[in-house]
Structure formats: structure tokens, C-alpha cells
């Protein structure tokens, strides 16, 4: 009896520690986000008050207006949307095609291509960035969105890999049946396989969108004139001023972050399952 009592006690302690841990880390992880939004709604002077003020008396929503006036945010947002949405289309066009070839077309090439794809994922992008830059600049395409968008229409190792992992598990019988009925493979891909891959394609779309929305390196190399700046570059340039205006910077950061959080809440159901089931092993 004594032993069982002991184990119940230790279970209770563990449960309490577990709940406290959840609350503790919720606090830690949430605080910086709170700090961002609260600073965005403060006046410049209030931010530096000692002792610290946690909330403004009156939220200064006009900070958001000021940011749009000072930073050409509309332009940055449009540019960022162009460089994030078009790559999503590119990836959703190219990767399922390749994954279909690797999994559903009975040919020997697939067994050769797949290991090469895995290997290319190991090549650091720093290796290709210099030659790619010189190629694009010889083509006169630097300071345009083309270098950021065009490559996605030719696939990308990681997303082909995710897509292939999912397609592999789809039953071939449906496709066989469609073939008997005389459907060609393009039609099979777009009318049968795409709908079946809805969850993995949603995950990929969200991942690609986030990656490009975030991207600093590509725009840093290729976008030189300020009318082409994306939010990443615009924000980074804005911060370069000697005396940072924290409320404005935090307001801009909030504007930069908000679309991703909204997108996340819409796609959450697919997205969290998607990254966990597909980006693991095998």
C-alpha cells in the first residue's frame, strides 16, 4: 500500500510541475510578442520611462499611420506579396509534377533522380549564390523580381521531397482505373492526385509563402532600388538610422508579422500536422 501511495504522490508532483512548466514557458514565449505590440502603441518618450510602463494610457494607433507615411509600406507590402505568392504558384506547379514522376510513373529514372534530389538538399546555398548572381546580372535581370521567382517554377529539392513522401502513400488503384478509362497522366494529376494531396500541398504552400515573406538574403542580393524593396529590406534599412524610433519599428514589425499569424490560424489544421508528419524521417 505504501508503495502505491508514493507513486500517486510522485504522479501528482509531476503533474503539478508539468502544469507550472506550461504556464512558465507560456509567459516567457508570449512576453516578447506582448512587448512588441505594447511598444508599437506607445509614444517615443513613454518607451524610455523609468520605472518601466507596461501599457500606454491611451494606445497610440497613429504610430501605424506614421509608419505607412515614413516607410513606403504599401510599396513594400505589394513587393513582398509578389515575391511570396508567385513562388507559391511556382512550387505548386513544379513539385507535384516531379513527385508524380517519381512515385506514380513506372520508369527507372525515378530511382536515379530521387537520391540526387536528396543530395542537392545538402549543398549550401552560399555555393550557388555567387555564380547565380553573375548569371542573372549578365542577363540584366538583377534589380528585378525574376531571380527570386523564376527558379521556383523548376522545383525545389525539399518541397519535391515532402510531396513525394506523401504521394508515395496514395493508392495506385484509382490512377490505374482512370488510365483504363483513357485519362492521360496530366488529367490524372490535376483531377485526381491534386485533390488527394490537399493537406500536403496546403502545408507546402504555407511553408513557401512564409519562407519567401521572410526572405532577406535573396532581396538583399537582387533588389537594389528602393522601389523594389520588400518588407525585410525596408525594415532593415529603416533601422539603420542612428536613433531608432522603437514605437515605429515595433509597429512596422507588427505589420510585417500579422499576415503570417492570420495565415497560420486559417491553415493551422493542415499545417501543424503537415510539418510534423512530412518533415521527419523517411
Amino acid at each position: 500500500m505504501k508503495k502505491i501511495d508514493g507513486s500517486i504522490l510522485s504522479q501528482r508532483i509531476f503533474r503539478a510541475v508539468g502544469i507550472l512548466g506550461l504556464l512558465f514557458f507560456t509567459f516567457i514565449f508570449f512576453m516578447p510578442l506582448f512587448w512588441m505590440v505594447r511598444t508599437a502603441l506607445m509614444s517615443d518618450a513613454l518607451v524610455f520611462s523609468v520605472p518601466v510602463r507596461w501599457l500606454p494610457d491611451v494606445p497610440m494607433w497613429e504610430n501605424f499611420v506614421t509608419v505607412f507615411q515614413r516607410m513606403d509600406m504599401q510599396k513594400y507590402i505589394v513587393n513582398t506579396l509578389i515575391t511570396s505568392v508567385l513562388p507559391v504558384i511556382g512550387i505548386l506547379f513544379s513539385c507535384p509534377l516531379v513527385a508524380y514522376s517519381l512515385t506514380k510513373i513506372p520508369w527507372k529514372g525515378g530511382a536515379i533522380i530521387f537520391p540526387i534530389i536528396l543530395f542537392t538538399m545538402m549543398i549550401p546555398w552560399q555555393v550557388t549564390q555567387i555564380p547565380m548572381y553573375s548569371i542573372w546580372s549578365n542577363l540584366g535581370l538583377t534589380d528585378s523580381f525574376v531571380p527570386l521567382i523564376l527558379p521556383t517554377f523548376f522545383g525545389s529539392g525539399y518541397y519535391i521531397y515532402l510531396c513525394r513522401q506523401y504521394m508515395k502513400s496514395l493508392p495506385t488503384s484509382v490512377m490505374e482505373a482512370a488510365r483504363i478509362d483513357g485519362a492521360n497522366d496530366i488529367r490524372i494529376l490535376y483531377t485526381i492526385v491534386y485533390p488527394m494531396c490537399k493537406s500536403v500541398l496546403t502545408t507546402i504552400a504555407v511553408l513557401v509563402f512564409i519562407a519567401n515573406w521572410n526572405n532577406l538574403n535573396g532581396p538583399l542580393l537582387y533588389l537594389q532600388s528602393s522601389s523594389k524593396y520588400t518588407l525585410s529590406i525596408g525594415l532593415q534599412q529603416f533601422r539603420k538610422a542612428d536613433n531608432p524610433e522603437w514605437p515605429l519599428l515595433m509597429a512596422a514589425s507588427t505589420v510585417f508579422t500579422a499576415p503570417l499569424i492570420v495565415l497560420f490560424f486559417f491553415a493551422q489544421k493542415y499545417f501543424l500536422n503537415g510539418i510534423s508528419t512530412t518533415s521527419g524521417l523517411k
Partner: protein, 326 residues
């Protein structure tokens, strides 16, 4: 290896059905053409965006290419210079430091959060999961701005907080001893992707193992080390390798942090070059000094380091990883 026979049986099976049987040679040719057609985006992309650039990078690494005028063959000079460049040594040691501290810290935090979320019979788990994941969604440049403010020596959130406990926090962004830790703190805050992957791995551990251990009187700690850790070891191995690779390629955060705290220095890696990471130095060589040949040699060395490190980590962790739980 195991998958190949399975695939072949799958392939031969439909061949017996009447669909694929007629004209098997013609059929095979047709499938080859179809396969190439469907894979063609990747084949073209592989040639244009991988093979040709990689070849060019290797060639450039033996030249004094500067994007405009010169591209003369200079043999191994770049590689020899790299070995004598004190900034390369500095950037390598910074990168190593960030890897050795950042990788374990990030993985332990991700696993800890996943363990907390994997508890039974606690309400609101999806809410906690969302809160832990939100920092991952903050764009890198935005989170850099945020952490430059959170870690501000005088008015920042962290030092304000430490002040409540009577501690005086350091000047995170300007003290060379703390700049790398600042970056690591920021990255650990955004460990949500790893957390989600660990959570999925934890949920796939068979419940029966725990039940059996409980009957044998094993407590939670014992269960964690004897059941949980071995069961998710393949995931840990994968995550650690990916994290090491991404630390070798560490760029964006270091670029943003150092572009503000430093303007004039040759190498430009923040206070006392404490944030001069390998890829930041590579970028500055290539795109600010236009020493493309030199930078290409650095990139080729980076690729070699990545491949070797991956192989070494895989070799030494293979014994510790058990695959039978899958």
C-alpha cells in the same frame, strides 16, 4: 535497401493486369517519355540552378574573379590565403561557438516544450501549442528588430525583468561576450518547428511500452530515459544534423544585428567582430568587396565542411540511435 523489393513487386503486379501488358516495350518507352516529361522542370532546374552554378563556383574558386573585369586562373592561392586569413579563423570560431551552444540549447528547448505538451489530461493543450509556435512565425528581420529592443541594455524587457530580481543584466548587443548569446536566445525563442516535430515523435511512441514500465514500477524519469529517449532517437538525430547544418549557414540574424551595431570595420561583424560568422564574412567578401573568387573558395570549403560534419555526426550517433521502435 528494404524498399526496393517492395517497389518491384508493386511495379510487376500491375504489369500482370491487362492495362500495362499490351505492347510492353512500347509501353515502357511511353512511360520513360512520360517520366522525363513530368520530371523535366526539375531536370532543367537541376542543370541551370545547381550543376552549372556549382561547376562555376568551383572554377571561380581558383580564379581572382571580381564580377567586372578579372577572371584569371590563380591556382590554389585563394585556398592558401583563406588559411592565413585571421578573419576566417575568427568567423569559424564564432560559428563553432554558436553551433556548440545554440544547437543543444535549441533542441533541448524544443524537446522540453514537446514533453510539456504531450502530458495527458491537461486542458488547453492546443492553446499552449499555438503560443509556443507563434514566435516561429515572426519574420526573421522583424524578430531581430524585436530582440534588439527586448535585449536593449537600459530599457529592454529582459534587463528590466532581471532588475526585478536585483540582477543587473549585461549590455547584450554591445558587449562582445554576450552578442552571440543574444542571437542564441532569439533563436531558441523561435524553436517551434522542432517542437512540433518532436511532439509528433512523442505521440507515436506506443502507449503499451509505458504501461508495461509502470507495472514494473518505473517512475517518470526512468521512463523518459529508458523508453522515450530511445524511441525518438531517430528524430533527435535528424533534427540535430539539420540544426548543425543551418548553424553553419548562419547569416540573416548576424547580418541584421551587425549591420546596425557596426558600420566602419573591415570585417564588419559587430562589436569586436563577435558576430562575424563564416557566411557573413563570405557575403561581405563577395558582395561588398567583390572578391568573388575568394568567396567562392570559402563557399566550396563550407560545402566540404558540411558534408564531412554530417557524415561524422551520423557515424558517431548511429550506435546511439535505435530504429526498431519505428
Amino acid at each position: 535497401m528494404k524498399q526496393i523489393p517492395a517497389k518491384q513487386t508493386q511495379k510487376t503486379k500491375p504489369a500482370k493486369s491487362n492495362v500495362l501488358r499490351l505492347g510492353s516495350r512500347r509501353q515502357r518507352l511511353r512511360y520513360n517519355a512520360l517520366g522525363i516529361l513530368f520530371a523535366s522542370p526539375w531536370i532543367i532546374g537541376f542543370l541551370c540552378f545547381t550543376i552549372i552554378p556549382v561547376g562555376m563556383a568551383i572554377y571561380y574558386s581558383f580564379t581572382n574573379y571580381n564580377l567586372f573585369s578579372k577572371c584569371d586562373w590563380i591556382g590554389l592561392k585563394n585556398y592558401i590565403d583563406i588559411f592565413h586569413d585571421k578573419y576566417v579563423a575568427k568567423s569559424l570560431s564564432n560559428t563553432l561557438y554558436a553551433t556548440l551552444i545554440g544547437v543543444p540549447l535549441g533542441q533541448i528547448m524544443a524537446l522540453l516544450l514537446a514533453l510539456l505538451l504531450n502530458q495527458k489530461k491537461i486542458p488547453g493543450i492546443p492553446v499552449f501549442r499555438t503560443v509556443f509556435y507563434l514566435p516561429t512565425l515572426v519574420p526573421t528581420v522583424a524578430s531581430c528588430m524585436l530582440f534588439m529592443w527586448v535585449l536593449n541594455g537600459q530599457y529592454g524587457l529582459l534587463n528590466t525583468f532581471l532588475g526585478f530580481f536585483g540582477l543587473k543584466g549585461p549590455y547584450w548587443l554591445t558587449d562582445p561576450n554576450f552578442t552571440k548569446l543574444s542571437l542564441i536566445i532569439m533563436d531558441t525563442w523561435a524553436c517551434g518547428t522542432g517542437m512540433v516535430i518532436y511532439l509528433a515523435a512523442l505521440r507515436s511512441v506506443p502507449e503499451t511500452l509505458y504501461e508495461a514500465a509502470e507495472l514494473d514500477g518505473a517512475g517518470p524519469v526512468r521512463q523518459f530515459f529508458s523508453i522515450t529517449l530511445p524511441s525518438i532517437s531517430p528524430t533527435i538525430q535528424f533534427q540535430v544534423i539539420m540544426s548543425i547544418i543551418s548553424h553553419f549557414q548562419y547569416f540573416t540574424q548576424a547580418y541584421v544585428f551587425s549591420s546596425i551595431t557596426d558600420t566602419s570595420a573591415v570585417a564588419g561583424g559587430g562589436p569586436a567582430n563577435s558576430m562575424l560568422f563564416y557566411c557573413l564574412y563570405l557575403y561581405r567578401k563577395a558582395f561588398l568587396q567583390f572578391r568573388m573568387g575568394y568567396a567562392s573558395a570559402m563557399a566550396v570549403l563550407l560545402a566540404i565542411i558540411v558534408v564531412i560534419t554530417t557524415a561524422v555526426v551520423m557515424y558517431f550517433s548511429e550506435k546511439a540511435v535505435s530504429y526498431d521502435a519505428e
